[in-house]
Symmetry: C2
Subunit: 142 residues, 2 copies
């Protein structure tokens, strides 16, 4: 699945749809998040944004990411003990994580029949489902 670099107007629209006032910094960060690189870490956003005209501080990056997650604009994804990435694709899908290369790719949900949700504890409902399939490369002739 590919993403497009969104137009400024599109990004602003998306922010508004999620009840986020579209400040310059937030537009910048959202644009980075929504660009073709779907899975992006806080640090990568920091780099990406600060290569553009608008500079954004670390504090603002982190605060804004937290805000975006709370507002449902992006999904927080735990791939590694020490690695959180943000996923701009909020549709229901899962992930391959290649431990050897660090590569993270989507699995469209329909490919993984995960419909049965039996025995839900009483009084609870499902907020989200996270499936991470950890891959390794086959040992090959070196």
């Amino acid at each position: 699945m590919q993403w497009f670099e969104r137009s400024r107007a599109e990004v602003i629209d998306l922010l508004l749809q999620h009840e986020i006032s579209p400040t310059t910094q937030r537009i910048e960060i959202a644009t980075a998040l929504l660009s073709y690189a779907q899975h992006i870490s806080a640090e990568e956003i920091l780099n990406k944004v600060n290569h553009s005209k608008t500079k954004v501080s670390k504090a603002t990056i982190y605060n804004t990411l937290g805000l975006f997650v709370r507002k449902g604009l992006v999904r927080e994804l735990l791939v590694d003990a020490e690695k959180v990435v943000y996923d701009s694709n909020t549709t229901f899908h899962h992930h391959f994580y290649n431990v050897d290369t660090g590569e993270l790719t989507d699995i469209i949900a329909d490919d993984v029949p995960l419909n049965a949700m039996p025995y839900l504890p009483n009084g609870t409902y499902v907020e989200s489902v996270e499936v991470i399939v950890r891959l390794r490369n086959h040992a090959t002739t070196h």
Copy 2:
């Protein structure tokens, strides 16, 4: 699924089975891990162990946990951006994580038909699969 407090001999055996030399500290840590509280964090282990006779340093806890994971004695489980827990149940199963209470419970794998693994990237094999179903409590009358 319930676990038993293992006998010292059992724990040593388990360590040996995983090619881990059973030092005093490792036995202590393994016992904590294998006790009824299946999902336990580094900090909880630290507390648990240091309430026993044998004190173990933080450094050793972390090093030992790393060792155990590498040797396949326990499974590292990412529940929260900032929370890693260790799961002494290494059989194939998944987890409910109640965001409201922090409670973490098992889903036996058979209850979630997750057999299809289509479109595996070329040259890779599945190392592990992690499914976390995030739950919330239904809003009720207060």
